[in-house]
């Protein structure tokens, strides 16, 4: 018997990715989120072009939005207490937050996935050791961890990444471990074992690709948390060292004047919230789409 079926085109990875985006288009929520994120990405990439003033230049202090600059330009969002253009700082600040947000999340995932794969796949003592370490880390309040790590190693971009990785990897490890516990009992894993594949080959090639769905959704949510974290660290003065623009730092520097000059704190707050909202909406959209088929 021959099962005749119409010929299917070869499907490349890129085409599949496009198809995924096509599916997302059916989710309004997801598209809104993607739109917000795309907006900020473009802003970050085009910062040198878009920013009307140098971000660290002290021009006219404490101007309300719409105020005029000495050279005839307009401070669309006003200036801060030492005369820097808030719009320009927001635009440049998006670079910081997106760069460190993405790098920190990626590092946390790399560590979390390796830990989760090992714990879930090997089980036994490996699982117990990894899970124990993870539980110890998770038992600390996150904020305390951040403060300890940054104050010990000093405030810098690298240390933000280290701190976020340290605090988030255990959570990711738990998700991955749960997925692996299910996936490792599949017949295709047994088939790979019976042809003598190595453990890491099985984990990376046979198991991990099939765990990607929930992980992609989670990574979007986690990006949101990481952005909040970077904001909070900046607010606590543990972020990037001044004077480089950092949304959290901008709020911190001007918060004492928030009642008199609300524009100095409100706009950075809106920037953080919108980006976090964008990632959360995207995660919702992805989940919606992935549940549908």
């Amino acid at each position: 018997m021959t099962e005749t079926t119409a010929t299917a085109p070869r499907e490349s990875g890129a085409m599949r990715a496009l198809k995924g985006i096509g599916l997302l288009r059916e989710s309004g929520v997801g598209m809104t989120g993607a739109g917000i994120i795309l907006f900020w990405l473009i802003v970050a990439i085009l910062a040198p072009v878009l920013a009307p003033f140098p971000p660290n230049a002290t021009l006219v202090p404490m101007l309300a939005p719409g105020g005029e600059a000495p050279d005839g330009g307009i401070f669309l969002l006003g200036t801060d207490h030492i005369g820097r253009d808030i719009l320009s700082r927001l635009i440049w600040g998006s670079r910081t937050v997106l760069f460190y947000g993405i790098v920190a999340t990626a590092c946390a995932y790399a560590v979390g996935i390796v830990m989760g794969l090992a714990a879930g796949y090997f089980g036994g003592i490996v699982d117990e050791v990894i899970s124990f370490i993870a539980n110890v880390i998770l038992s600390f309040p996150v904020m305390v961890l951040y403060v300890i790590i940054i104050s010990v190693f000093g405030a810098s971009g690298i240390n933000i990444v280290v701190a976020v990785t340290f605090a988030s990897a255990p959570g990711i490890m738990r998700i991955v471990r749960g997925l692996v516990l299910d996936l490792r009992n599949r017949d295709y894993v047994a088939a790979a074992q019976t042809r003598g594949e190595g453990a890491w080959q099985i984990m990376m090639v046979e198991i991990l690709p099939n765990a990607r769905g929930p992980l992609i959704v989670d990574s979007c949510l986690r990006m949101g948390y990481v952005i909040i974290t970077i904001g909070v660290l900046g607010f606590l003065g543990l972020g990037l060292p001044p004077p480089d623009p950092d949304w959290g730092g901008m709020i911190n520097e001007t918060r004492t004047m928030a009642l008199i000059f609300p524009h100095m704190t409100v706009f950075p707050c809106i920037a953080i919230s919108s980006l976090v909202l964008g990632f959360n909406l995207l995660a919702d959209g992805l989940r919606e789409v992935s549940l549908r088929d």
Binding site: E3, A8, E11, A191, Q193, G196, P209, N210
Partner: protein, 697 residues
């Protein structure tokens, strides 16, 4: 079987030209077209068909429980003189579980795990008849006794997980019967159960209509079960009834090519892999939105007549026999007597030298009980005896079947053989080397390549993330059959040819394939490393009947071409009888009987083999079976009987010796062994369980 009073009085349930559609993003998908049925009081009608043919949709429509995206788009359902479409939600609520009750496939999912069974049962009469709790309890208890559950008091107080699957299904049936329904819908009620348990449920279902006068609509994919439970049968294919009529007519004088094909594809006792092989139906079921014009079966039919069969909708017309109806324009023209489907007759080939020798193999799992009680009593380590003293051998080019119900240890054995687990004790000689204690990562590539496996679940056997070509190619590369990418691709294409799949499937991903196609890829993958032995763990049990035969055939063809030894693990004795040369019957980790297929299927039997044979439903009205029903449940592997493992359920138990001593292995002939305390002379007196040719009861 009940005595239906077909044709007498007013029908209880009438479906007239019923059309049901599901509405999805892809548009309207017609699930059922033009379905008509009259069900008279006390009658049992079976609906038989493969997955996706719309049989469950019909049941849901009768309950008027279609979900948000389904709807009746044409025709009517009249139940007890009332049009179901005109009923209000409140009236429907009274009807469901009242006059119409349903039994589902998965008993564990039908019962609420957090309520005791008594509570769940009492709910029914308390809601439908407003009676007091004490009266409801008494009724529930009586009903549990009526469905032959031992110790109803204990069952009433138990939670669903505390009783076995078969008992759960009896509880679900008793729950359905508690409101004295006029109509009972049974949707694959025994599919999730073991054969010997299934036999008990089928017996019970047969008694119900006699005892309660309930009409039944029995939905199943298994022709044999329909034969045992129903008066009439509707055969559905791709959303339409293609043939209907009384059991005897449809089973012996079927007129539709699909029905004919279905019977040709199931391994009846008359089939034989050499002289009388199964005839597979070519092709596969069309998807609901890809149905052809005209006859849905057209593309798979040997009698397809372009211009007539694809001209337009085919009406269902009266057939040659009383109450028989056929949906085929050519049914009168087809000359079945002279129809010879082209089948390959396989010459018998003698088995070669011994490839596998298993000697006293044991596999125990250690279970650590970490409760404080266990620590105090010192019994913190217990053993699950998954395999106990397994001894048998397999020769080149031979098919050896391991048969047994769930929990008998057959899959554990496969794991030990492939090295995913190592044996606790004993020897497994494969190609002259003892591999019982060599885990998979210590085996040589040659050992790995020569011992490959075909898995049961088609949706699980292939990695959804990789293309078919990549997955087969990986095996070829891993076992060093070919190393150059171009040659690997060449070999992948050859393998796809061998399993009769189009070559461009190598670019596809598993989700673009049907179950049968996935299973073919799984077979191709197993044969990619030129194995000398293939273990097939229930390779066709998850497939549709019409596809099963094709996949079984393919497996046997590849086996013959490659001179491979096939170890076929199955619970289905009909399939095993058809393809195995030798059979090993296992129960609770131990071998009960082994011998050639003829020896196992003829007396002397082991009492368990006898019961197993009797339990298999056979879709042949000329077959009479001895009825042997097993009592009780499968004992826990954690706490197996000390003597004979089958002692707790054995209908021919001798006495104390069965409880205390392991049975001796009786050597009947060089091949045939039975482990039983009953002396051979006694065993030899048994009559054959399955007799072909006698008139139906």
């Amino acid at each position: 079987m009940s005595n239906g009073q077909s044709g007498a009085g007013k029908p209880l349930l009438e479906c007239n030209d019923l059309c049901i559609s599901y509405f999805t993003r892809a548009g309207e998908i017609p699930a059922v077209k033009d379905f008509s049925l009259q069900l008279y009081p006390g009658e049992s009608v079976g609906i038989v068909g493969e997955s996706g043919c719309g049989k469950s949709t019909v049941a849901m429509a009768i309950m008027n429980y279609m979900g948000a995206n389904g709807g009746i788009v044409g025709g009517s359902i009249v139940f007890d003189g009332r049009d179901m479409a005109s009923l209000s939600p409140e009236e429907l609520r009274q009807l469901r579980g009242g006059d119409i009750a349903m039994v589902y496939q998965e008993p564990m999912a039908a019962l609420n795990p957090s309520l005791t069974i008594g509570k769940q049962l009492m709910e029914v009469p308390m809601f439908h008849e407003n009676i007091s709790a004490t009266e409801a309890a008494a009724r529930a208890k009586q009903m549990l006794a009526d469905v032959n559950l031992p110790d109803p008091d204990r069952v009433m107080a138990a939670y669903p997980h505390q009783i076995s699957g078969g008992q759960q299904q009896r509880v679900v049936i008793s729950m359905a019967l508690l409101s004295h329904p006029k109509l009972l819908l049974l949707d694959e009620p025994t599919t999730a159960l073991d054969v010997t348990v299934e036999a008990g449920i089928v017996e019970l279902i047969g008694e119900i209509s006699a005892k309660f006068g309930t009409s039944m609509l029995y939905i199943s994919h298994n022709m044999g079960l329909i034969k045992d439970t129903c008066d009439r049968v509707c055969v559905m294919y791709s959303g339409e009834v293609v043939e209907e009529g009384p059991i005897d007519t449809v089973f012996n004088a079927m007129s539709h090519p699909y029905t004919r094909g279905l019977f040709g594809a199931i391994p009846l006792p008359s089939a034989d892999k050499r002289s009388h092989p199964l005839v597979a139906i070519r092709g596969q079921l069309p998807l609901p939105h890809e149905r052809p014009r005209g006859c849905n079966f057209g593309p798979r039919c040997d009698f397809f007549d372009a211009g007539r069969c694809d001209a337009g909708d085919i009406p269902i017309v009266d057939g040659a026999h009383a109450m028989q109806r056929v949906r085929c324009v050519r049914w009168q023209e087809i000359d079945w007597a002279s129809h010879r489907p082209d089948v390959t007759v396989r010459p018998e080939e003698p088995a070669g030298e011994e490839v596998l020798a298993v000697d006293e193999m044991r596999k125990y799992y250690t279970v650590h009980d970490r409760s404080i009680k266990a620590m105090l009593s010192g019994h913190s380590v217990r053993h699950v005896k998954a395999n106990e003293s397994i001894t048998f051998n397999a020769r080149k080019q031979e098919t050896v079947a391991i048969v047994g119900e769930s929990g008998c240890g057959k899959s554990t054995f496969a794991k030990v053989l492939t090295g995913l687990e190592t044996a606790t004790d004993g020897k497994i000689d494969f190609d002259g080397v003892d591999i019982s204690h060599v885990p998979v990562h210590n085996r040589t590539p040659k050992q790995l390549g020569s011992l490959q496996m075909v898995f049961q679940n088609p949706n699980d056997t292939l990695n959804p993330s990789h293309t078919i070509g990549a997955q087969i190619g990986r095996v070829i590369k891993k076992f060093g059959v070919e190393t150059e990418p171009a040659k690997i691709q060449q070999r992948v294409m050859q393998l796809l040819d061998a399993v009769k799949l189009p070559r461009d499937f190598m670019w596809r991903r598993p989700r673009q394939l049907s179950g049968g196609q996935k299973q073919r890829v799984g077979i191709a993958r197993a044969f990619a490393g030129n194995p000398s032995m293939v273990i097939a763990d229930e390779p066709v049990s998850a497939l549709d009947v019409s596809v099963q035969a094709a996949v079984t055939d393919l497996l046997m063809d590849l086996q013959r071409e490659n001179k491979t030894t096939l170890l076929f693990i199955s619970h289905d004795l009909s399939v095993v009888r058809y393809l195995a040369d030798r059979i090993v019957v296992m129960y609770l980790g131990q071998i009960m009987e082994r011998g050639t297929t003829e020896q196992v299927f003829a007396p002397p039997y082991h009492p368990y083999t006898e019961a197993l044979l009797s339990a298999v439903p056979i879709a042949d009205t000329s077959v009479t079976k001895k009825r042997i029903l097993l009592e009780g449940n499968l004992p826990s592997v954690l706490n197996p009987p000390t003597g004979c493992p089958f002692e707790t359920r054995c209908p021919r138990k001798v006495g104390r010796i069965c409880e205390e001593e392991r049975p001796p292995v009786i050597e009947i002939s060089a091949e045939h062994r039975i482990a039983c305390h009953i002396p051979l002379e006694e065993l030899a007196k048994a009559e054959p369980v399955i007799q072909v040719g006698k008139a139906a009861e």
